[in-house]
Amino acid sequence: MNTIVILLLAFPVVFFLSLLFEGIDRKVHARMQKRIGPPIIQPFYDFIKLFNKERIVPVTASSGIFTAVPIIAATASILGAAIPLASLILETGVGGDLILVLYLLVMSSVMVMVGGSSSGNPYGAIGFSRKMTMLIAYEVPMLISIVSVSLNCNSLAYYNVVSAQIMAKLLLAFTRPSMAVAAVTFLLCIPAAADAVPFDISEAKTEIIHGSLVEYGGPYLALIKLAKAASNFALTLLAATLFFYLPALFDGYVSLGLGAVFSSLVIALIFWLLTITVPRTIFARLKIGQAFKFYWLIPLPLSILSMALSTLGL
């Protein structure tokens, strides 16, 4: 009974936390630019306002795909964030859920991309091809780094990786060289997965008018924004718990209870600020070729290195 309640509560909690984190992100971003910035709950206002707006489907769009895509994207990424959060609270997990979470997160990006191309707008088509290129660039090293984690822990279940850290009383990133390399790879891939500057090429506002999102408005846009926030939240939560599960360092771990979950949420927020907010403040947008080159020259060799090291048992 308790389990079902927690599972059901995970969805609104993810909704709330991901929009809250986005609000903090916007505020910190503004403060770093000497601006006052919007209130922290601005994303909630945006969500409510967009939901009360008119639904517009362009005549050139294939309306079925166009309207279904935001719902699928939002569901996939909220589910992707809720699974790790719920298994942290319940301290249990299902075998293979790590792969499922990654699939769900890719699913939400792919859905947004497809929605853009189904809109019939040329900018949507350019956004599609750019996002496709970016997916190939960052998704491969990201997946390889997660695979090397599961090789290292001999498990495909998310909670087993966390509990391995609790047993060893050590953060996974500091156990072996292979895991340190995997952690760096995963963190390098987050900005691209989050579509943050310098890798927001597929949604470049000044170049292709938000790319895939160009024709979306009203409730559809609200859902896509939610999907993006939730998938960013899931990525940072994964980084914070898979590689740097700080509560594991405490002696009386069992006595922490929900405190362990809260502290890992705080770490997730810190990772969000470091991997999404800071790059988006201090860099200019790259061109698609330059971004692709970056991902295949640094994170990809790093991920292969971590894979090689973990098969060697290092």
Binding site: R35, I126, K287
Partner: protein
């Protein structure tokens, strides 16, 4: 996607689709554009194959309006041609009137005109640098640059009372004097702005900005000469021209030694940006020299403006100034009855916008905003109305009264 329509012998039409080409409409409404300009771009994947430039979305008929007003009213009207280089327009216009009427402004008035002129150049260049940063997705630099620009706008408010349309010029002089306490403020601001501009120059050499600007939108020397581009766009392509040095006006003749013309050879978007950053330092130097050497004397003639307007005889002349965007040219023909026969404005954007085509062809779609911004287009200055009949393929230029009549009919 490009459609090719061919007529078959039996009268039916066959449509062939070329799916490798994509027609991308860039503008007239686009987040990268501050003012409407329409570029029809043909692209294959990310590469640009062809560009078609279309103007005419913000025509306001100012030349015709000026011809219906008296000279004083026209002075305030031409100021409204541009919100960024309003002082350039009034200076250019007033110089022409003063030449026709043989009115000689005092030395102090000419120095004050030059002071506002250089402040305006600074605010225009800082504006553009901010836009450049925004186009490459570097919002932080954009915010910082515009923060610096606020200092210049505050100085305008301090000196003239207005931030945008300064209304500084009047026939035979300027309207506002520079009291000693403001001199101190201006020179203090120059010190702080110089420090900030050095910082901006550093940030523009950042790796990610560099990657977006180097080798983008190249316009080589011969193309620049052929298309007669002007201002920083020309100087970025190695064309050594500057009206301030070549045909000195206002107080630039005396200040000649106080500044140098910045020329860059590399001819890309970065060269044009760098020219503007370095010109900011030159402007700061000029302003410092002006503050040191400001001569004493009256700021305008004794007689009232209306009286002066009446003595301006029939005549015509051409006047030129170096506006922040390049050479600004006015042809003024007065009718001797307080009015104008003809006013012709050639703003720097008209020649510069032609340079866009050679710049863009061969670039990527991602380079369009950067390239368009790098010539600092000011569409509202440049627009003339042309009516095009797409069926007959005819184009004719219309005047404002016909336009007004058409407007009333509908």
């Amino acid at each position: 996607m490009k459609m090719l329509m061919t007529d078959k012998s039996d009268g039916t039409k066959e449509i062939q689709m070329d799916y490798t080409r994509l027609r991308v409409p860039f503008g007239p409404v686009h987040p990268a554009l501050k003012e409407p300009i329409s570029l029809r771009i043909t692209a294959r994947k990310e590469e640009i194959l062809d560009v078609d430039i279309m103007l005419g979305h913000v025509h306001r008929g100012i030349e015709a309006l000026a011809e219906n007003r008296n000279l004083v009213q026209a002075l305030y009207l031409v100021e409204r041609i541009c919100g960024i280089c309003s002082h350039s327009h009034t200076t250019c216009f007033i110089q022409a009137l003063e030449e026709i009427g043989e009115i000689k402004p005092s030395e102090r008035a000419l120095y004050l005109r030059t002071l506002i002129f250089e402040l305006e150049r600074m605010h225009s260049h800082l504006f553009l640098l901010g836009i450049m940063a925004y186009e490459v997705g570097f919002d932080t630099l954009f915010m910082f640059t515009w923060h610096v620009r606020e200092n210049v706008l505050d100085l305008f408010e301090e000196i003239t009372g207005n931030r945008v349309h300064h209304s500084m010029n009047t026939t035979g002089g300027v309207r506002w004097d520079l009291p000693p306490h403001i001199v101190g403020k201006v020179s203090a601001s120059m010190t702080s702005i110089e420090k900030s501009v050095k910082y901006i120059y550093d940030v523009f050499q950042d790796k990610t900005v560099e990657k977006r600007l180097y080798g983008v939108g190249e316009l080589n020397y011969s193309e620049a000469r052929e298309l007669c581009v002007v201002g920083p766009t020309a100087r970025g392509s190695g064309v050594n021209m500057d009206v301030r040095r070549d045909y000195p006006y206002a107080a630039y003749g005396e200040l000649k030694k106080g500044f140098s013309v910045v020329v860059r050879e590399s001819a890309d978007a970065y060269a044009r940006t760098e020219v503007r950053i370095l010109e900011l330092f030159e402007s700061i130097n000029i302003i410092r020299t002006i503050l040191d050497e400001l001569p004493n004397g009256p700021i305008s003639t004794e007689e009232s403006v209306l009286k002066l307007m009446r003595i301006i005889p029939e005549g015509e002349t051409v006047s030129m100034v170096e506006a922040p965007r390049g050479e600004l040219l006015y042809f003024v023909k007065t009718n001797g009855k307080e009015g104008l026969w003809r006013l012709k404005v050639r703003t720097p954007t008209i020649p510069n916008v032609l340079g866009l085509k050679p710049m863009l062809i061969g670039c990527e779609i991602a380079d369009i905003p950067v390239t368009v911004a790098s010539i600092d287009p000011c569409m509202a200055c440049a627009n003339r109305i042309t009516l095009v009949d797409p069926d007959k393929g005819e184009a004719k230029v219309t005047d404002v009264s016909t336009l007004r009549r058409r407007g009333r009919k509908q």
